[in-house]
């Protein structure tokens, strides 16, 4: 069963927006990383994510008449972006950057592995097959740093515990499907997201324990990003992201 073009477009946005917004956040660190080596590592990850975004948006644009990938990336309003709230959270400090990345990477790798093997859509399958290797490295990088920060100095420990505490409420949104994700699951193009949940939290909790980071007990979770209801940080991020296209519409490099 194939998806209608409009729904497939919406599904590609959910895949691409997470990568776009997290890539933009990481891009902000270019030249500002805590050390030369981590600076390069984080911007490498940003570039991987932007590459995935382009593949997703090219396919999204192909579903609509007369749209380009740039239109999709730059010409939407805030409430038309469907990324999860986690990825738009600011680069408060290195512990936040790594924790946000780790929480995303565990989910992202599970999703890409599923899509690369199971998606009924050949294009999505191909995009995911390429992304799997990148996602695997991202997860390795962020897990290593979670362990180092959690089991490092008292300063790094305290900061990463704070970051985990603050970002934890944004983790459950991954598993609450949007309309597009529900339709994709019915069409066999995307996974049943709820089926990832147990595996996700098993992985995350075991790593947190290994890193000597207390697992938060907060049962209240935030969601809304997938419906376009974003946190106060999103507007500033988009102002940066969209500035050139808004000022010089249809500009190219």
């Amino acid at each position: 069963m194939a998806m209608e073009k409009q729904s497939l477009y919406a599904y590609m946005l959910t895949l691409g927006d997470n990568a776009l917004i997290l890539g933009q956040r990481l891009g902000e660190l270019c030249g500002h990383g805590p050390s030369l080596e981590t600076d390069i590592a984080l911007t490498n990850i940003a570039l991987d994510l932007l590459g995935q975004t382009r593949s997703c948006f090219q396919y999204a644009a192909a579903q609509l008449e007369g749209k380009s990938e740039d239109d999709v990336a730059f010409s939407r309003k805030e409430n038309q972006y469907t990324n999860v709230l986690l990825v738009e959270q600011p680069n408060t400090d290195f512990a936040y950057v790594i924790t946000r990345q780790y929480f995303f990477d565990v989910y992202h790798l599970m999703l890409m592995e599923w899509l690369a093997v199971n998606s009924a859509d050949e294009t999505i399958k191909a995009i995911a097959s390429k992304a799997v290797k990148e996602a695997r490295y991202h997860r390795r990088f962020s897990s290593d740093w979670m362990l180092r920060l959690g089991d490092g100095t008292s300063e790094s420990h305290q900061r990463v515990v704070q970051a985990v505490e603050d970002l934890w409420p944004y983790t459950q949104e991954f598993f609450v499907p949007s309309e597009a994700e529900t339709l994709a699951a019915q069409a066999g193009i995307g996974p049943e997201l709820s089926s990832f949940k147990e595996h996700y939290y098993n992985d995350v909790v075991s790593l947190l324990q290994k890193a000597t980071i207390a697992v938060p007990e907060n049962p209240y979770f935030q969601k809304g990003g997938k419906q376009g209801v974003h946190t106060e940080h999103m507007g500033y991020l988009l102002a940066d992201l969209q500035y050139m296209q808004r000022t010089y519409p249809n500009m190219t490099w």
């Binding site: 050390s35 030369l36 080596e37 390069i40 590592a41 490498n44 390795r140 990088f141 290593d144 180092r148």
Partner: protein, 95 residues
């Protein structure tokens, strides 16, 4: 808080199977695992390599530039140590 620098590591990359590892540069890292990860990001992101070695710089013993004269100059006028005085048969190529 005192800012401590991570130790320095030297990075060797093999660009293709069959070639030797070559010195590519150096970087800072807290330990060997991190040095490998950093080397991957700093030195192989443009597809430069298939294998990486890292070694902490302090483990490398280097010759002293001040001893250049006694170490290296005596070899300069000993051309007979190069095998250039033999006639090679035409069948032998690429020598």
């Amino acid at each position: 808080m005192e800012k401590k620098n991570w130790p320095l590591w030297e990075v060797f990359v093999r660009s293709k199977n069959g070639l030797e590892h070559r010195h590519f540069g150096s970087l800072h890292a807290a330990d060997a695992t991190m040095a490998l990860e950093n080397a991957r990001d700093v030195y192989t992101r443009r597809n430069e390599g298939v294998s990486i070695w890292v070694v902490e710089s302090k483990h490398i013993t280097a010759s002293n530039p001040e001893n250049h004269g006694e170490l290296f100059e005596p070899a300069q006028d000993k051309v007979y140590r190069h095998p250039t005085f033999y006639k090679l048969p035409d069948e032998v190529k690429h020598m």
